[in-house]
Amino acid sequence: MPSTQRSPIPPGTLDMLILKTVAAGRELHGFQIADAIERESREVLQVEEGSLYPALQRMLIKGWLTAEWGRTSENRRARYYKLTTAGRMRLATEIDAYRVVSEAIGRILHPAP
């Protein structure tokens, strides 16, 4: 049962997290993506669902994801998202950018002697 206070996703990283979640050949629908992020972050991060779908739509327009309607294991209709080649390249770019920023922050917090 979720009881601990979860942190919101840092601004600007939602795209990256979504793309990473769908990487490795996975096809997930919206809820699964949100759930995966929560689980794989060990329940630290909570996806604000209000930003999930606009982000997904944006990435569809930009061509980083494609979507297809399918059926879940409970035979419900759901829309499955898949990473594209362009999306893979975008993910790499975003990861690099994030690394640069976090290293820079790290240097400020733990300045070298």
Binding site: G30, G50, Q57, E74
Partner: protein, 892 residues
Amino acid sequence: MRAAELLRRLRYLLLRDRYAAELEEEIRTHIDHRAASLRADGLSAAEARYEARRRFGNPVAIEERSRDMWGLSLLEHAASDLRFAVRRLRSRPGFGVAAIAVTALGIGATTAVFSAIDAALIRPLPFPNPSRLYTITADVPLDVGGPRPPGLRHRANIDDMAAMTDVFERLAVFAAGALNLTDRDNPLRINAGVVSQDFFATFGARLEAGRTFDAGEVRPHGGHVVVLSDAFWRKQFGGRNLLGRSINLSGAPYMVVGVMAPGFDFPNQSDLWIPLTNPTTFDSFSAFRGFLPTHVVARVRPGFSAEAVSNRVIARWVQLAGASIPGNANSKGLDDDIASMRVQRGAKPLREDLVGKTRTPLTMLMGATILLLLIACANVANLLLSDAAARRREVALREVLGATRGRVTRQLLTESLLLALTGAAVGVGLAPTLLGLLRTLMPADLAGIAPAELNLRVLAFSAILAVVSATVFGLWPALSATRGGAAETIKSGGGGGSTAAGLGRTRRAIITVEVALTVMLLVGAGLLLRSFARVVSQDRGITSDHVATLELAIKVDRRSVRLAKLHAMLAQLQNDPLIDAAAIVNDLPLNGTSGMSIGVQVDGEPTPKLRNDVPPMARYLQASGGYFKALGIPLLRGRTFTAADDSIAPPVAVINMAMAKTWWPDRDPIGQTFVSAARAPVTVIGIVGDLRERSLESEVRPQMYFPIDDATPVTLALIARSKLAPDVLLPRLRAAVRAIDPTQAVYNVRMMDDVISTSLAPRRTNTTLIALFGALALLLSSFGIYAVISYSVTRRAREFGIRAALGATASDIATLVGRELLTMIGVGVALGLAGAWGLSRIIAALLYGVEPHDPMTFLIVPAVLAVPALIAGWPPARRAMSVSPMEVMRAE
């Protein structure tokens, strides 16, 4: 990558309903999944559902944000703005109609005038490289049979010009006239060009079928052939193959040798072209029954400026003329010729020659039209501002519900744009009517090759005008409606307080500007009206009422035969008891042409002063003895011609006052002699009053009349004065000609008053239009004043009520309103007069006999404006005076 994205966006645009439904389903599914997961965690079904929904947030808002990602929001918002604007306008039809009508007026007028300017000044002539086409001053050699008179100086002609191959690529001569297609029972009058061999090549016109004239056909008596225009060929002959067949022109067969490609009909909307021979003979013009004036056109090689071409032509003239004079005989005449050539300029760009004097009046008209447009915009802005005040509450509510200020402003601007575009569409529909009125202002030669029309450029101009107008009159009201905090506005009931006063100030400012612009327009109209009155009341030098005229060209037979015919026609008329006087002259006065002027030399008198660096010349006229009486030209001294003044007797002439004063300033010219045109010395036998030649606005020039018995004209006008009504008199004039020669064609059969009226037409059109604009502006301004004062009174009703309760009389209240009214009008008038003072210099070129700063006009205009303005303010003032204090208090 970008292109693919664009395509995706486009797909979303086209299928947005489907995608929206899918999104909605997707979100519902998501919430279901969340609920299921919560149930798995132990919540009850109802709790899980509730929690899932709560966690998700507002589905509608999220759907909208998601859809925003598609990037279509701009389009969707625009579409909904438009729908909303249409609905609002339909709910207030009076407002909509008023705004659209005013906009239509402004944009329609501006479009029409711009279309005229586009045709005359902007649109390139429809020939390849039209800027290299020039009209050249050169003689066209004429072979009338018989030897060339001796002693004539060589005047540069087209062969001399054609030899200047370094300047001219090609040279052509053309004349334009009308003749009859006599293929059928009813002859059809058509326009024809008489053109030299190189004409089509000079203009770069293309052939559609057959060929143009060959070398043999442009030699004198080279055979009758004709080239047809595409339009005429299709319309008259159904486009069937006519090559090698003959058509009948004025009774003679002409073989069709070619058809031009569509779009070419120079000069003067020609339906067909026949050859002009070199040298020209009468045979070229036989179909027209008389000579036509010829013009020389050349295509100049690249690299020559207009100045350079002109100088080369003049230099050649001088060279040829100088070389042909033995010794220094008649060198003074040569100087005169050259001086007059410099004034005409040896060469002029074709467009300038065609457009000529219409540039200034057209640009002036454009200025006046733009003033009218600005006034119309101010009026609509006023209407919108009054609307904006009423909409404050609605706008505030929308902001509270979540619309941003930008969004609301965009919606209001959409309304303005809708009004403007609808007004523009209506205006463009009205423009052709106004264009019809403008035609008298357009140069006649241009009417065929460059008709004023609503082409793409003009329509684009209208659309841009509409957008600019919408911004001009829509932006301020839109900003003003969205100003002020939403909460405040709703609390205060939406209509009162300081913002309302600010709105009133804005509206008053707009009306003040409107009044100023109206004053400027009225001053312009006033100056033009006074000019027109001056021109019309000009001493014409003739008595033009009850005078009928017609023009004709007599086949050049022997001079004696021609003269006999003329005398016979005169006799026909003089023998008619109901005709008081009959006469003949080679050029009618006030007929729009300058005719021929030649140098005059007088021995023993001081050389007359140069005018405009050119030695004065005298207009060469040939007239019958009864001419002066027929036209009411006073004979001031001496006598007029009699039958004795023929070609055998010593040459005589009658001169006008201007000529007398120019060449014989101190002496009586009667009995003196002068030399002109290398003829034997001419004796002056009489002096007549001055009259104007080209139009009532021309200066008076020296004029000399030679008797027709001595100098018999080929083209001439027949004149008859009689008290008969025109519809009786004109046929009698025609009949007189027909009685002598039934085959003689006549044209321009009209009363002398009509001749004058035609010469006045351009000025009259210009003046009428600007006066009309002034009247419209006055109407719009009055309406604006009424609206603003009305609004102000409504706003101040409470104040008036209180004042009345405190003892103010009706006249006190009236004074208050009156003061507001007068301030507005006063400031507007002052600004307008100042603006008119500055701008009237620009209009000076169009004025006649009136100073640009004419005090009377500047005084009358404010008076003219004040009357409707004060009348417009009266009803609201009355309303103010009748405000009852009790009602106002109760409404609190």
